[in-house]
Structures are given as C-alpha cells and as structure tokens.
Symmetry: C2
Subunit: 457 residues, 2 copies
C-alpha cells in the first residue's frame, strides 16, 4: 500500500475531486468514481472528509470497494473501515487480496472485528452476510419517551432507526419490533411495548437465502427484518435497500443462467477475458456434448434419410419449434415457482394444463407448415416429390407432437430440478432446447415412419 | 352485485373467517384469501372490520381486488374504496368490468374520485400509475415541532410518514424533502428547512417508467420518491414497497419475454387457456415463419446435400451451438444494459470483446467435434466416409465461425433494439437462436463448399 496522500494531485485529478466535492448525493459520487481507475478513486477518497468517504464506501453501487481500500494508506483505511456498516466491511474483506487483507484484519479495532467475524461466518447471499449490526434495540422496561431519546442519541450511527427492537431486559431475547411511526404517535409515558403492533415480530435466521428475505420484506412491506439466532437474540438486521440490491442481483443471476451459462458475479465490463470464457464454456460444452446425441439419432435414421432426403429439409424447422415452445414453458414455470404462484405439489396440475396448450400451439404451427408446403409445391417454387401431401401431413403431425412434448418437458424441468433440491432457475433456454432437439428428432422420424411407410420409406 | 352479507355463513366459511380474524399480519390473510374463490373471499371480507378489510384490499399481493370489490355489496365497496390508498383504488378500477365499474365510479366520494382520476390518467407501469396521493407535506414556514405535530395527527391516513415534503407556502412548489429521522433529531424550534439534508430533492415525472423509478430508489436508497408535474407540484409519491413489487413484476416480464413470448401480466395459475395461447402463439408463429428460411436454405443447398449426405448428420449440432452462444451473449447484454453497466455508445467495445470470446468458445467446441468424429471413426461406431478427416475439419471450422457469429449477433441484438427505441429485453433466446440458425446453415454449407470442393462436393 503506497502513500498516495503525499503525491501531488495534478489538474485532471483536481477536476474530478472538485466535481466530487460539489456533488450532494453520495450515489452520484459513486457513479463518477466507478468510471475512474482505482488509483484515481483512491486519490479522490483521500481528499474527501472522513464522513463522506465512509458514505462512499457504504454504497453498494461502488464497483470494487476492496481494491479501493487496498489502495488507501493503512491508517486511513482502518479509520474508514471502523465507520462503515458491518455488511459493507464484510463485503470488502470477502474480496480483498491477501497481503493487505490479513494486515488490515489484525489492526482492526475490536468492535469492528467482532461484527465482521459474525457477518463473515455466514454463507454468501445469506441473511447473515447481508445484515448490518448497526440497529436500534431497547429493553422492554423503557417508556416510549426513553426510547425516543435513545433513538435521537444514536441516530447518526445506525443504518435505520425506523424499526426498533424491544428486548427482554434479562435474557436480551427479542420480544417485539416497533415502528418509529407508532413510537412518535404513542403516549410518551407508556411502556415501549404499547407501541408494538404485532404480537410476534417477523424474523429470519442468519442462514436464510436472500431470496427468502426478499420475499418476507416484500410480503409484509417491511423496512427492515431482524436476523435472530436459535436463542432468539437479534444479531443484525437486513434493510430494504440491501434487499432491493439483492433482488436485482438475483434477477441478473437468473437471467444469465436462463441464457445458458454460469452467473458472472461481476459486471460485464470488469470481468476478465478468461474468467468470462470459463463462465460460458462449461455449459456450452455440456450442451454441445448432449446435442451430439442428435448426430447419433440422425446416424440411426440414416437409411430413412437416404430414402427420403426431402425430410432433411425440415429438420431445423421442426426441431427448433419444439425448443421454442419448451423455452416458453420453462421461463413461465421458473417465474411462477419463484413467485410462489405454483408449488411443487402442483406439478400435475401444470402438466394437465401444458398438455392441451402444447397440442393447440403445435396444431397452429402444423397448419402453417402445411400451408407453406402446399403453396411452394403448387406455385412451383420447389418440388417436394409426388408424395408431397403425405410429407406435409408428416410435418404437421410431427410439429404437434414435438411442440406438445416441448411444452410438457419445458414445464416439468423446473419442477424436476426443485424436486432434486436444485434451483429451478438453473433450467436454461438452451438446455431445454437441447433436450427437446434430441427427442424431437426421434419423434420426427418415428412419425415419418408411421405415415410414410410403404410410400417414401 | 348480490348482498352476500345476508346469506348465512356456513361452518366451512366460518373456519376460514375464524382463521383470518385470528391472523396478525394482513399479508397472511391475503395469502389465505388468494386460495379461495371470489365468493368466499367476499364473505370473509364482509365480516372483517372496515379497517382490516381496507388493509387487505391495499395489499398488492391480493390476486384480484377488482373481482372482490365487484362481489361486495355496493355500500360496503364504496366505504372500503374511500379508505384505500389511491394507487390500489386505481388498480381496482383498471381491471373492473363495466356494469359495476361505472356504477361505483358515479357514487365514489369526490375526494377519492379526484385522486383516482389523477392516477388513472397515467400509463400503466408509469410513476403516475404507481403513486399514492396520501403523503405528508408541510409549508416551509413551519417549525420542526409544528411539522412533527402535524405528522402525529395525520399518521394513520398516510402510506408513509418517513419522508416529508416541504412546499413553498404561496406557490405550493416542492422545496425540500425531509426524512423523519432528521426531524426527530433536529431542534424543535428551528425551521423545518433546517432538517433537510439536500439542496434539491430527487424527484420523478409522472410519466417515468417504473424501471426508472426503481433505479432512482435503489441508487439513492430512498424510502419514497415524490412525483412532481411540470410546475414542480407534488402530485403523489412512489414508496419503496411498491417499487419492490414493480421490480419483481419487471423481472417476470423480462424472463417471459426472454423465454420467447409476450409477458403474461397475470399469474400463471389464474390466466385463462385462450389468453395463454394468445400470449404464446404469436411469437411461436413469428419464430416458425422465420425458421422456414432454414428450409429455404436447405433447398438451396439440396445438390450439396445429395452429394455429401454425411453433412446432414451434423446440421442440428452445428446450428444449435450457434444459438446457444447467441443466447448467452444476449442474456449477458440485456442485463448489462438494464443495469447501466454498458451504454448504447459502448456497442463497439462489446463487439471487440465478443469477437475473440466467440472465436475461443467456437474453437473449444471445434476440438470437441473433431474428437467425436475421430473416435467414432477409428473405433468403428460409424463410418463418415473416406474423407472423414476433411469432414471433421469442416465441422471444426464451421463451429468456430458460427459460434463467433452467434456471440456477435447475440450481443449486438439488444443494442440494435435499444437503438430502435425498443426494450432490449425484447430480445429472446428463441429469437436469437432462429436468427443464428438460418445464418448458421448458410455459414455451414459455405465452409463445407470451401473445404470439400473437389473431394466430397
């Protein structure tokens, strides 16, 4: 860690620093800093007042707080870390490289260290890793007025004061959650417990996944949810703004997985070339190897292909339709399961619904297919042979069967994954397409054998 | 509208009603009601106290508030509507059928009617349609103490009191936004303006899309954002819990579009059969018609296909790999653009990055392809002919070219859509696959002609 503070700040730097000093909203500073390289970011941060620099580091929008802390003089870094909220400090240490990491860890003040250890002990994306330990709690023996006085005193150092947690004075177990809006309208002389609206506060365990926390916060319209351990002690809170970031990150992860790759975990423009290849090549190879089964299927039917070469013309068309209907059904069901609209036990209800839907959609495409062949044949664009009517019929029947299979398979896949304890969102469009491609080919040739036996085949 | 209140409540109903009366959290009541039919929901609602029934109807989680209001006796419905927040009332009237709709509209009290008209005049999913008109505003001439007293008086009737809007006493234009946490720690005798942290409050226009509102709320960690008209009057506020619901809904919409269909706008388990077919058949037909170009391409190359039938075996394999890499690139870029990581002007930077990525991924698959052919050929699983080495080389070259094209086309599609003023999220995996399928076939046969000219072709 070099001492950047001693370097002269040249004009170009001063410009960005000036702009930063002139900005009201810390989120705007962060946006500007994200466009600079780490050295530049560090130089700006060094010249910001402590309180402001802490605010900058506390913003989840900051691309790489770990690298930024590494680039700061150690003393300054320690001072800023002590002021940051515990979930952010944990994020910094989670991504920091080792020489400066252990160095800083050792010199951290005991209070920051304790809450850091707590947060770091929980898995990534769990309630425990998202929580901040800066919340307001008061003993149940206090009055409303005492509580409000306490809130006024600690306001500056707490991430939110809109939810106050009332603890048993002896055991320190959580008794109630009280909203600030109830406190300021309650009788000041009454017990703080009178301001509680609900008997039992909504809580999460530290190991709960961020998706679960998001569901609770969204369902009960909470501004924060307390994280409690087995003995009912509040170890932290997850606030609504952390959850918004988590929902957005979850959306990105799901979108990337549905696109047929591993989730990047990093912004597109900062991830390295080989890291990107690694995230994409894995699934691409798995899909390629699975799709090789299509070559095997074609080899199996190579006699039929020789006899009725006209059938090959429609292979991509028929196959892709199955993949498309499967992709629709999968995306529908992934979301329906994620939102809790459909439960695992409803799988047969969904199957009963996708069956007629698939038949209907397949029939629509079948009609289009027959029209195409008829028009091309009668208009003389292409000659599909003397049995073109039977070929058209084959295409229509195969399309109906394959689209039905695609809808069914696509809708059942998320259930199957959930049943196996996997994330239903791991079902990707390319994966469904591959699944349906191979089966689709077999269906296509089987239908053709059935219909064209004795004529073309 | 029949008077359900006069019907006898039988035992089964009483059970659900009893359960509902015993539940603390209104979100739990809503969850239970969503599983009942509308008649049952109405019966329960009739027996809940007014305040509780209003809370139920105010929950965005309630599946069909419009049908529920329709099923209530008119007088009760009017009473409940008057108590509901304006964004919820607007939602009810947006989805209500006409005989009861105009009936209720006419008999609505003037205050509810005015705020309803305001919200209904804005497009669906805009800030104006999401906003509630129940917010706290005070003139800038007031002190902190006066403001707090006012908040205490109106607390019950406001959706949030955590943000207070300070208006010019004469023009009623928005001057500042003040957070409750600053108010309760400020000097009670000082002007309310002293509690404002920022010079210029963050605001949105009523026509802003919900995505834009979500970005603001998430960037600046707001609990609510004021919606102001051109003359800088606050016409409502959008609260963070509405925005969480909006982000989740946006995620569903994007996932369904990426799956290759129109967004459902309704839960999977409540949408009707034909409505579902309509949402899915449109894109399926468009994709089918586009994919017909593959048949045309194959017809164009039918001479080559006759001469080198071995090439047909690998058509699905080669084509699908292009689609898969395209789907990866599209999902990556849709998210990167949505999150603002990548701007429209960065398209060439992305292209320069996807080009080597595509070549590298394609080469990896190419090696796998050559391995497969070599193993099958030498182990005697299948005979690809005397020129099997050249065929393998063709497959490898075609894969590299097609995967590169897929990555490029897939990554550029979201930019092209954005450039045309369309939502980049309209690019779907099946659409990209279709695009790449057709081009992929042409690439495949061109590469084959180049390599196999004089031997197989």
């Amino acid at each position: 860690m070099e001492d950047l503070a001693e370097k002269n700040v040249d004009l170009a730097d001063r410009d960005i620093l000036d702009v930063c000093l002139g900005l009201e909203h810390v989120a705007d500073i962060v946006e500007l800093l994200n466009e600079q390289d780490i050295e530049e970011q560090a130089r700006v941060l060094i010249h910001l007042p402590d309180e402001r620099a802490i605010e900058v580091l506390d913003q989840p929008g900051l691309d790489d707080p770990a690298a930024l802390i590494e680039a700061l003089p150690t003393d300054r870094a320690l001072k800023l870390l002590a002021g940051m909220s515990s979930d952010r400090v944990a994020d910094v240490f989670r991504y920091m490289n080792d020489p400066p990491r252990s160095d800083l860890l050792q010199r951290l003040d005991p209070e920051t260290r304790t809450s850091l250890d707590k947060v770091l002990s929980y898995p990534v994306d769990s309630a425990g890793s998202l929580m901040t330990t800066e919340f307001v709690s008061v003993p149940s023996s206090w009055t409303v007025e005492q509580t409000l006085d306490h809130i006024r005193r600690v306001e500056r150092t707490r991430e939110t004061i809109y939810s106050v947690y009332v603890l048993d004075p002896k055991t320190r177990q959580l008794l109630k959650a009280v909203a600030l809006r109830r406190l300021i309208t309650a009788d000041p002389k009454a017990s703080v417990l009178t301001a509680a609206r609900f008997d039992k506060p909504i809580t999460v365990s530290p190991t709960a996944d961020r998706e679960e926390v998001a569901k609770l916060i969204s369902k009960y319209d909470l501004l924060a949810v307390p994280v409690v351990d087995e003995s009912w002690h509040v170890i932290g809170i997850v606030t609504v703004d952390d959850i918004i970031d988590a929902i957005v990150a979850e959306g990105t992860e799901d979108a990337q997985k549905f696109g047929g790759m591993e989730a990047l975990d990093e912004p597109y423009n900062t991830i390295g070339f080989w890291a990107m290849i690694k995230k994409r090549a894995g699934w691409l190879c798995i899909l390629f190897l699975s799709e090789m089964l299509t070559a095997s299927a074609m080899q199996h039917f190579s006699d039929e292909l020789d006899k009725a070469a006209v059938l090959t013309l429609f292979i991509p068309l028929v196959m892709s339709s199955g993949g498309n209907s499967g992709s629709q059904a999968t995306s529908l069901l992934i979301r329906a399961i994620a939102l809790g609209e459909v439960k695992l036990r409803d799988w047969w209800r969904v199957a009963l619904r996708e069956l007629p839907t698939g038949v209907c959609l397949g029939a629509i495409l079948g009609v289009l297919g027959v029209l195409r062949i008829t028009v091309w044949q009668t208009a003389g664009f292409f000659d599909y042979g003397v049995h073109w009517g039977l070929v058209a019929f084959t295409i229509a029947m195969a399309l109906t069967a394959i689209v039905t299979f695609g809808s069914l398979a696509g809708s059942m896949l998320p259930f199957a994954l959930k049943k196996c304890g996997l994330d239903p969102a791991s079902a990707s469009a390319p994966f469904v397409a591959t699944l349906v491609d191979v089966t689709g080919l077999v269906i296509y040739f089987s239908v053709a054998l059935l219909i064209l036996k004795g004529t073309l085949l």
